[in-house]
Amino acid sequence: MSEQPTQEPGAVAVKAEPRQEVDTRLQPIKWKFPITYVLLGLLSLGVFALLSPTGSVTQFRLATASDIVTLPAVNVPSFATALVLSVLQLGLAALAIFAAARRIRLGIWHPMLFGLLFVLAFLVYAGAGRGAFIPVVTLLAGALMLSVPLIFGAMCGLVGERSGIINIAIEGQLLAGAFLAAVAASFFTSAYVGLLAAPFAGAAVGGLLVWFAVKYHVNQIIVGVVLNVLVIGLTSFLYSTVLTQNAEMWNARQQLPRLPIPGLSQIPILGPVLFNQTILVYLMYVIVFALHILVFKSRWGLRMRAVGEHPKAADTVGINVPRTRVFNTVLAGGIAGLGGAYFTVGQGLAFGQEMSAGQGFIALAAMILGRWNPKGALLAALLFGFSTSVGQVLSTIGTPVPSEMLLMLPYVITIFAVAGFVGRVRPPAAEGVPYIK
């Protein structure tokens, strides 16, 4: 991209976080959240605490056998623990009411602490008197594992939509990345080659999307939907022909090795979950962190947001709108392609038909729930991964709550979010609108 010196003052003048409007007028008190907290707290008290059989215990296992520092399993009396956790929740709810009445803003710690207590109370109830351990490390590791493609996909969607291109094709990009990663890794018998190849597949799909969107002004959602079908068709076709004719050459399993970070990986509970991972997961940390900084603090990020919010203004100051959109969408496709690699080389699996299984759509939901913000999208994706992980773990130990309901949860939360319950969700102003000079 060429630089114009005339733009620099503008770039400095616009501070980070321009999306938060400062409103000095007194807003009516919002009782929505305090009421929600009270209802959830009462639910916890009424169901999780009072329905836990008295005298039964819930067992939590805090380490796996392979850990260096092995914490002992923890047994807690179900009823008393759930009761204490519920009372604490109601305390937090009371605090929320107090804060709302006084118009004091509580920090992010409040909902997070509340959520943690609620989840713990639920787990205590779910594991009460079952005689089986609740494997905490497995639960968290599973949550991260299930979140990885979601996080990559959400970052892809974020970069695309911030530059004004709606990306429904994340699903296709993940699948294409998974496919090429498997094929390249198998052909060169190296998982790392697969990892290098995957972004190109995602970028190719992104390139097609933006080509149709920018050059031919085709509705971006339509192109996205059709590209998903195209990628499913292509990969399934090649899978049934080439990959099955000679599976040893084209679809042999390759796995990225785990690279434990010395020191950090020995932290109890979180260490093995976060720091005994493959390079792909570490790359994910880097990408999320980099985007968190770059989207709001760099020239690239400023231009991207300008093009997504008001392309005409961006064009007026000399930003090449189509070129910015093309570059960013292709780059975003590369990110999603990397995420796709997680399905195959990241987990040491061979490619299977439609193995992305709708994860791209959940990634899209995570991005929206995270309000087009890297940090928010990360948290949303982790939440989705966690609820799926809880659903999977609980379905193996058997619970009073159907696992399908837990698996449904991310989608229900997203609907509430876009319906305006969790604050106002505002997409970039110019997304989906072709820029015609």
Partner: protein, 434 residues
């Protein structure tokens, strides 16, 4: 947001025809503007893409490539035979099988095409109503699942006389789809929630809902742990209309009736006029007195009902038993059907028949030549992508631009225009690359 708008930029400006132009040039230009020509050419390109894919993955063809320079003729001959076999199987499976043993078996393929087309047409119409009203209903999948689920439950859990049972099952199916579409519609109308996101989420919720229902004994009523429901009663099935040996059922009449109904709704009724008005310009529609939230909700309710009816017809006419994979890829196929039909009722009907035919033919092609049926997905998506971008199709076939000018003259004009612009600006600050 409606797909038709994409064609705005290549609609003819209607300028006077220059006398210098020859008649032939005029005819070519007229042709290149006609949407059916673009459709035809798109299908052609898709078939070529499919042929290349088949060739690239065929072991016989790869074998002849090994000695290509010694005997290039072998390569071309084998390629021709492979493509001919694959596509003739596709045709025989979809339209008329001249190799079949009996005349009955010869005409069976076209009836199979119609069997596949029934749910595609019904659901495609539901999606098309949304497109015409400026709403992208991606939730066909969920609405089909709900429709099939409701229809199935009514079909085996209730005991009713012959006609009433079928009618109730169909109405139940439509209602199920209407509720699922209605959630998105009402949310959009009340809160402005983006219908694309809500319908995608509802698709996934429907998947888990059906998975949960199929584990409940009160729901499946089979007495076994298999995640499949009891078969629907005979009295609730869509009856066959060609006798034994054919699967074609009365659902095809339903599809025809729905096509006529949607045509009447969109083109002749007040409500349809309001739908199209909010699709074209919601602000103007509101000013003209249209109750935009109500119309928005109704679009998705009616669209959902049609999708639900599609699911119900699929279940009551062909599947009979509800399983988790009941909808297959119908929901997403329906979107491509509506796009290919340009959201017009008749177009959607024909597109549904075409895609139904591809699916029916794909089965025979897979059985006889080993070409995986997934190629049908590639054909579908390439067709729809190209139809959405007529300038690309014209570029592939070197057709003239609809404004009548050749490519070089347009480029020249653009250059002159840019030169004039730069001259008028005092200080050239911008890079002009377009």
């Amino acid at each position: 947001m409606s797909p038709e708008k994409n064609n705005d930029d290549d609609a003819a400006p209607g300028g006077a025809l220059k006398e210098a132009e020859s008649r032939l040039h005029y005819a070519v230009r007229e042709l290149s503007q006609a949407s059916w020509v673009i459709t035809l050419l798109s299908v052609l390109v898709a078939l070529v893409v499919g042929a290349l894919l088949i060739l690239a993955t065929n072991p016989q063809v790869q074998g002849t490539l090994g000695y290509f320079f010694a005997q290039p003729g072998d390569f071309f001959l084998t390629s021709f035979e492979v493509i001919r076999d694959a596509y003739s199987a596709l045709f025989r499976g979809a339209v008329y099988d001249w190799q079949a043993a009996t005349p009955e078996r010869s005409i069976r393929p076209i009836t199979e095409t119609l069997v596949n087309a029934v749910p595609l047409i019904l659901a495609g119409l539901g999606i098309a109503i949304g497109f015409r009203s400026g709403m992208l209903n991606i939730g066909g999948q969920g609405q089909i699942i709900l429709g099939a689920t409701c229809a199935a439950f009514i079909g085996y859990a209730f005991q009713l006389p012959v006609g009433a049972h079928l009618l109730l099952a169909l109405v139940g199916g439509a209602l199920g789809g209407a509720i699922w579409g209605g959630i998105a519609g009402v949310l959009k109308a009340k809160t402005g929630a983006n219908e694309v996101i809500v319908t995608i989420m509802l698709n996934n919720i429907a998947l888990y809902l059906i998975a949960w229902l199929l584990r409940q004994q009160w729901f499946v009523q089979t007495g076994s742990n298999q995640p499949i429901a009891a078969p629907v009663d005979e009295s609730a099935r869509l009856f066959g209309i060609l006798g034994t040996g054919f699967r074609l059922h009365a659902g095809i009449f339903l599809a025809i009736a729905a096509t006529v109904f949607v045509w009447w709704l969109l083109e002749r009724s007040t409500l349809g006029f309001e739908f199209r008005a909010i699709g074209e310009n919601p602000e103007a529609a509101r000013t003209a007195g249209v109750n935009v939230p109500k119309a928005t909700a109704l679009v998705l309710i009616i669209g959902g009902a049609l999708c639900g009816l599609g699911g119900a017809a699929h279940l009551l006419g062909t599947e009979y038993r509800l399983a988790a994979g009941i909808a297959g890829t119908l929901g997403f196929d329906a979107i491509t059907v509506a796009l290919l039909g340009r959201s017009k009722p008749l177009g959607t009907f024909l597109a549904g028949v075409l895609f139904g035919g591809l699916r029916a033919g794909g089965v025979l092609m897979q059985a006889q030549t080993g070409t995986p049926i997934d190629i049908v997905l590639v054909l579908q998506s390439v067709i729809v992508l190209l139809i959405a971008a007529p300038p690309l199709v014209r570029a592939i076939f070197f057709l003239p631009h609809p404004d009548g000018s050749s490519r070089s003259s347009r480029r020249r004009r653009l250059r002159e225009q840019q030169a004039a612009e730069t001259a008028s600006q005092p200080a050239p600050r911008q890079e002009v690359t377009k």
